[in-house]
Structure formats: C-alpha cells, structure tokens
Amino acid sequence: MRQTYGKQLPGMRLTDLPGKLIVIEGTDGAGRSTQINLLKPWLEELGHAVLDTGMTRSRLAGDGIRRAKEHNNLGRVTQSLFYATDFIDRFEKEIVPALRAGFVVLTDRYIYSLMARAIVRGMDPAWIRSIYSVALKPDAVFYLRIAIEQLLPRVVFSRGFDYWESGMDLFPGQDIYEGFCSYQATLLAEFDRLAEEYKFEIVDASADARTVCAHLKKKILEIIDPVRVEAPAAKPPDPFAELLADKIFANLKCGTKEPDHRAAHSLLPPPPPPPHDPHARGNGSGPRV
C-alpha cells in the first residue's frame, strides 16, 4: 500500500498501485528533460510502459498558467495555487491512473519544485506543505544537483536568460543576470533543504549527460526490477563494443584533458561470463505481472 504525505483525496485508493513513481527534480537547466528523453526510450525497450509528465502539462490548467504568465499581474499566492491546480489535475488524471495500470511514471519535477518555488516567493512552508500533503510518496526522487557556477555557462551559451527562471518577479530592479544568480542561489538553498528533509537521491548533474544517465539507469533498475539487478545478466556485455563506444564518445568530447578512466578500465580482460539465466535480460523484457 502506498502512502501520501498526510492527507488523502476523496475517492483515491492507495492500494493496487503497482507502477513505479520516479521523480526527476532539480533547478532550471540541471538537465532534467535531457535525462527523461534518454530514460523513456530505454525503459520502453526494457518493456516498461512509461508515462512522462511535467509541470504545466495539465489539460485543465496548463494553458491558463501560460496565459497568466504572459502578463505581469500574476500574484504569488495565485501563482502557487495555479501550479497546485495543474499538479493535482495531472496527479489525479494521469499519474495515479498510470500507476494503477502498472506504468513507470517519470515525472519532470514533482511537489518539491512547486514547494521550493512557493517558499522562495515568501509563502509559508507549512501552508504549501499542507496543500501537497495529498501527494503520493514516490519510489525515488533523483535530485540533479548543479552549482550555479556550472549552470551559468549552460544557460548563457544555449537558451539565454528567461524572465521566470531569473526570478524577475521576485527581484525586480536587478538586471536579468543578477536576477538569475540571486534567484537560482535562493532556489538551490531551498532545494538542498528539501533534499535533506525528503531524503532525495542526489545526483551530480555537472557531469556529462551520458554519465548522469548511466548512473540514473543503474538506480532506476534497482527500483523497477530488483530481482533482475541481483541476478547475473544472461548475455555478458561485449567488452569490445563498449570500448569502441567509449572511445568514440571520448573523442567527441573536445577539451577533455583527463584520460577516460572508464575506457582504460575496459581494456582489461573481460570478466568471466556469468552462468546462463533464461529468465534474465534478453527474453524477459515483457511487462511484469
């Protein structure tokens, strides 16, 4: 039986929710959507049905929030509640039904981002926690953590500064760069507090996307398929193919001064192949019963 953070919505059964709820959290630009775009096809290949969802994607309130943000008269309490409406609509209409149907739900942000944003905007933490107390506790929260020092180049040299990501509603009078730094630093501090309180799994998001993804895959496998992780793989990984892939990848990265330890490591003789398990990877990737 699943648990919520305290309260229960009317008509919501907490039993028979066999799916897995996996949350990817992190500040703006931490690479959440990149990871979800990598994880979703991988999970589907393994035979898991996947629902990916994220903020402002609700049928009910998504458009309303976008319209409201075009104007400069969206108050802070209103903003917090508009996002709560969007979240609960997706929660009741997408997330919970998917969990009931046995899906892996990959959610780009969850209640934690919503709480962090509200708290840095001066909302009473107890108030915002009470609202989201109806949410289900997830199976895992991966917090892609990145320091502003590393975040800045990503933002400056890709998409540029965004009004809301720079907290310009919070820190008017600063230029957008100063606003970005102040806002993201404040947000990061709040995230770190939440990470401790809610026991997030902290992932170093300053590493390259591939490394982060490999780490996430390993952790996610432990959640969705603990048996398979413990059992030895039926087909041993091809060390030469891996080496080749690593070398290609290492060459693609320009300016990498450090030797690629992973590539060097795979030059060692391959481990002896594990005993054959017909139920493991390869033919066992259908939906679990």
Binding site: L60, N73, A84, W127
Partner: protein
Amino acid sequence: MGISTSIHVGPFEILSPPKPSVSSVQRYGQHNLPGRLFVVEGIDGSGKSTQLSLLHKWLEARGYGVVFSEWNSSPLVKDTTRLGKKKKLLTPATFSLVHATDFADRTEHSILPFLKAGAIVLCDRYIYTAFARDAARGMDGDWVRDLYGFAVKPTAAFYFRVPLETAIGRLVGARDGFKYYEAGLDLGLTLDAEDSFRLFQGRILEEYESMIPEFGLTVIDATMPVEKQQEQVRQIVQSHLANAKELRVQP
C-alpha cells in the same frame, strides 16, 4: 547584452525570502488594515446577493468608497474554471483548487489592496462557500481551511439562513434549470437535477450550520421580508463603521 565570454562567478548572495504573506485565517484576522470587509454567505436562492446589492447602494449613497468582488470572477483564472466546468474535467480536488486560485487572485488584486487603501470591500460569497461546498464534495475540512489560510478575515460575515424548500421554490421560478456543478451533479448522487440540487444543497446547509459557531457568522433569517433583513444588515454594518470616518470619499 555585452556578456564577456569569460564568466566571473562570485559568491552569490542568498536573498532572504520576502516576509510570508500567507498565514492562518485567525492570524490574518489580527490585521490592522484601514478598510472594512463585509461578506454574504448562503445557499443559492437565499437572497444574499439582493441584500448585498442593497447594502452597496446604501454605503455609496453615504459617501463611502465601496468595492465589490464576486465569487469566481478572477479574469486570470475564469477561463480555466470555465474550461473545467464545460468539459467536466473537475474532480472535488481540482474544483476546490481552481476556486482557491480564483479567490487568491481576487485577494491579491481586488481585496487586499483596497482594504489597505481604506475602502469598504463587499464580497458575494467568501471562503465559507468553499468550505461548505468542498466538504460536501468529500474534501477534508482541515485541508480546505489550510488552503484558504491566506484569506483576510472579514469584518463581518452574514449568513442568510433559509430552508431548502424555500430556496428551491425561489430558484425554480427565477431560473431555467439547475446547473451541473451547482446541483452537485458531478457527485453522481442522482441523475435528476432538482433531486441532486436538493441533496447537495442539503449537505451544504449542514456545513453552514456548523460554521456559524466556528467562524462567528452573523445569522440573518432570510425568510423575513427583504426590507427587514436589510435593516438588520445595515445596523450591524453601521456598528463597524463607527471609527471609520476616514473611509468617506468626497462626493
């Protein structure tokens, strides 16, 4: 923008967040805003809107700056509410939240600033409507009370008490049919709109009764003649205007 390619990144100042603007109804009740807030509550057909409009005219005639705010009227949120109702997307929880969002926008834009400016703010329905309706839809009472924790406590909240059959009699004559959500048809209690309205509004009446002592609502017997009710309302409002002379605007 003249950004140099070498970025110097210094230690970032973590700004202390602005002071919390959200607290409990009780705490907000201690606010010392110069304005006055009067709200009317009651089921559909109780006559509360008629009474509020008469109060509005009386206050204006006496030279007060009066602002009126109606339930479910925020320009930022009403499209979302309309979409939800039209496409029947709303669950008890999202019904509750979308109305709280609407109320938040009106609090931030139509209620608080005017109370700060010293106006008399009149609200047709207030948080008690949400408490009653959401509870009737099965939402947890404490959760909904927390949700509206940012609301300003009214100077006086009038509850127009009327028996269900009287209200239904007034509505049947005055309107064409009962609306889906107003009749609580979303709850699937019964398929007949009038029966559903009766069941749903009956639950709401029970909620209102229990809120009279909880929030100190001022009960007006809404079966009395309109004039008699208005006389009582004006008397009570008058008693709260005693030290509010600065509210008067020059004609």
